[in-house]
């Protein structure tokens, strides 16, 4: 009864091979559910990234004796670390139950890991600010500053893992590049924020960080989109497309202002910094919205899965089985 059946090919595969247009679907309805996250989440990606990269900038400036830059960066880290948990709690369906995040530590859940990173980072940033302002316990302040600087890069990049660890096609399929894009964008934000609030003569490192981060952000986004191939389409359409264009324009013009004029003129540094910050924020919104768009249209889910399915040897296609021996599609 379970004699080998001829290899079957699905109708969808046939349709695709014959180039007969669109992928099949159930009344064009989405296959996965759209995320329920709202505006707070891309804002948090921005504030978390800003805070994370600023802490490292602050520590190094401190070590090098650049007190003005160190203080600005520290304040940026504190501001980001203060805004972040507020945004996250506001986005919860049941905000008063936020403390349930603290009942487990789960390495399989980027959100759980991120909660603990943010908690530790926020606490250290708070200690840094308190000891600095009050002028007490300088050693504790230094230790806390080091802890924050070590946790900062993790805070800036774990959010990319958070979105990549979902079934949303443009996020999951960009899982290798997304953390790098987030890192670059965070570097650009931290550099830009410090450039705005530091006099140009002390802001050299922050200008270099802002320009370097901005260039990396633009380049890595391009790499990510190339890797996504056809799946990069949401980045050219609708809201995500608009944010993506805005981000590119703001980031490149901001980097240009900062690099060329920012060293001499304060106004140019402020303008360049503001543009770069806007570009980094728009980047997170573009990525966020692209995810929603790719979840909404079943063709992205079906197409990428069909391609993945066809690239595998038949004996490894076992989601559908045509017989007891697991004869594949």
């Amino acid at each position: 009864m379970s004699e080998a059946r001829p290899q079957k090919r699905s109708v969808s595969e046939e349709v695709r091979r014959n180039g007969q247009g669109e992928t099949r679907s159930y009344y064009a309805q989405p296959i996965i559910n759209e995320p329920t996250w709202e505006w707070q989440i891309p804002c948090y990606f921005f504030t978390g990234g800003l805070a994370g990269a600023s802490s490292g900038l602050g520590l190094l400036a401190d070590l090098g004796g650049n007190e003005r830059l160190a203080r600005t960066a520290r304040l940026a880290a504190l501001a980001g670390a203060t805004a972040s948990p507020v945004l996250l709690i506001l986005d919860l369906g049941m905000p008063k139950r936020f403390y349930n995040m603290l009942r487990v530590f789960k390495p399989t859940s980027p959100m759980s890991v991120g909660t603990w990173i943010l908690l530790a980072f926020g606490t250290s940033s708070g200690i840094v600010a308190a000891t600095d302002v009050l002028g007490v316990f300088p050693r504790l302040g230094k230790a806390a500053e080091t802890v924050a600087a070590l946790l900062g890069p993790a805070l800036a990049t774990y959010t990319a893992v958070l979105v990549a660890d979902t079934s949303v096609p443009v996020w999951h399929e960009a899982r290798r590049e997304l953390p790098l894009v987030f890192a670059a964008s965070s570097a650009a934000s931290a550099g830009a924020a410090a450039t705005i609030f530091t006099p140009p003569e002390d802001a050299g490192p922050s200008r270099r960080l802002a320009v370097g981060g901005a260039v990396a952000e633009l380049g890595l986004t391009e790499v990510m989109k190339r890797r996504l191939g056809e799946l990069a389409e949401p980045y050219e359409k609708e809201e995500a497309g608009r944010y993506e264009k805005l981000s590119t324009a703001l980031t490149s013009s901001g980097a240009a202002f900062t690099a060329i004029l920012g060293r001499k003129w304060r106004w140019a540094a402020i303008l360049g910094g503001a543009l770069t910050l806007g570009g980094a924020a728009a980047k997170r919104w573009a990525i966020f919205k692209a995810g929603f768009q790719s979840a909404r249209d079943p063709k992205y889910v079906v197409k990428s899965q069909r391609e993945r399915l066809e690239s595998r040897p038949p004996d490894q296609r076992r989601t559908e089985t045509f017989g007891r021996d697991g004869c594949a599609t």
Partner: protein, 309 residues
């Protein structure tokens, strides 16, 4: 008992649809299946087999589910998509009956007893109906990503949300490759099929399976259901229904605790053709993040190469 009726070799089961031998819960504890236990009581993993070839689209499963689990009603809304006015699985729809209208000759299907004979003039039309539900995955992404531990694995091998712990972070919603979980409006928490955990505890079958008048929805130990489903599949293939296939029945594919017998490609029913346990890649994801965090640290340090000021 003729040989060709013996659809499961070397077993007493001759008819996959003989509801008397369908696993009533009292059989659960006494069948040694060698199934890996998920809990302390050593019971086998329980699940659903939804045979869409005998679904008549009555939606009794949807109604029974809503009544038993006190799932809020959804607004009366006409989608225009055949008889489907439920739309999609979500916080307020734990069973969803899909209706697919197709132009396709149904001659072989009639021979297999899949559909009733068509009257003249409508012989090339077929209706596919399928009751979708949470798959209670072997490795469940929703469970992996839940940051509060609200989602858990029960002793029946199913995946359940604890509503007294869920804080509505919404992470499980995009993690699910099937679009099962969603946030309930006005409540904020996430809800989904529990496979009637409360009924299971009392040895009863889930409300939808009990309400199903054609036994399109069958409940029982997963190993038994898989065996039965393979028998049914062979029966259909022998009758010439070449398109029939099982979806999610093979543990070497995407392991599902609720699997289906379909007559067309999964995407036609709104199911993903190659679902993936995204959270299985978590180690490489943390790897990428570590590389990126390292690059960021190096980048910040590099900004000081040109001087401290």
């Amino acid at each position: 008992m003729s040989d060709e009726r013996q659809i499961i070799p070397d077993s007493d089961t001759t008819d996959a649809y003989d509801i008397e031998v369908i696993n009533r819960p009292q059989t659960r504890a006494v069948i040694p299946l060698g199934q890996k236990s998920y809990g302390g009581d050593g019971g086998p993993r329980m699940g659903f087999f939804t045979d869409t070839t005998v679904c008549i689209g009555c939606k009794a499963c949807e109604v029974a589910c809503k009544e038993w689990n006190q799932v809020p009603s959804t607004l009366m809304e006409l989608t225009g998509n055949s008889y489907d006015n439920t739309g999609d699985l979500g916080a307020d729809a734990w069973r969803h009956v899909a209706f697919i209208e197709q132009r396709k000759p149904i001659k072989v299907a009639q021979e297999a007893g899949v559909t009733t004979p068509a009257t003249e003039g409508e012989s090339d039309f077929r209706w596919l109906m399928s009751s979708d539900v949470c798959k209670h995955c072997t490795t469940a992404p929703c469970l992996d990503v839940c940051p509060t531990g609200s989602l858990f694995r029960t002793e029946f091998g199913t995946v359940v949300v604890q509503e007294d712990i869920c804080n509505g972070c919404g992470y499980c919603v995009p993690a699910c490759p099937f679009g099962v979980l969603d946030q309930r409006e006005g409540d904020g928490r996430v809800w989904k099929c529990t496979l009637c955990y409360d009924r299971q505890k009392d040895g009863m079958e889930p409300a939808c399976a009990q309400a199903c008048p054609t036994d399109s929805i069958q409940y029982g130990p997963l190993e038994e259901l898989r065996e039965k489903a393979n028998g049914r599949l062979e029966m259909l293939h022998e009758a010439g229904v070449e398109d029939a296939r099982l979806y999610g029945a093979d543990e070497e594919g995407y392991g599902m605790g609720a699997f289906f017998l379909l007559l067309d490609d999964p995407e036609v029913y709104g199911l993903p053709p190659d679902p993936e346990v995204v959270s299985r890649k978590i180690e490489s994801l943390w790897g990428s993040a570590t590389v990126a965090a390292g690059a960021l640290t190096v980048g910040i340090a590099a900004a000081f190469i040109g001087g401290w000021r």
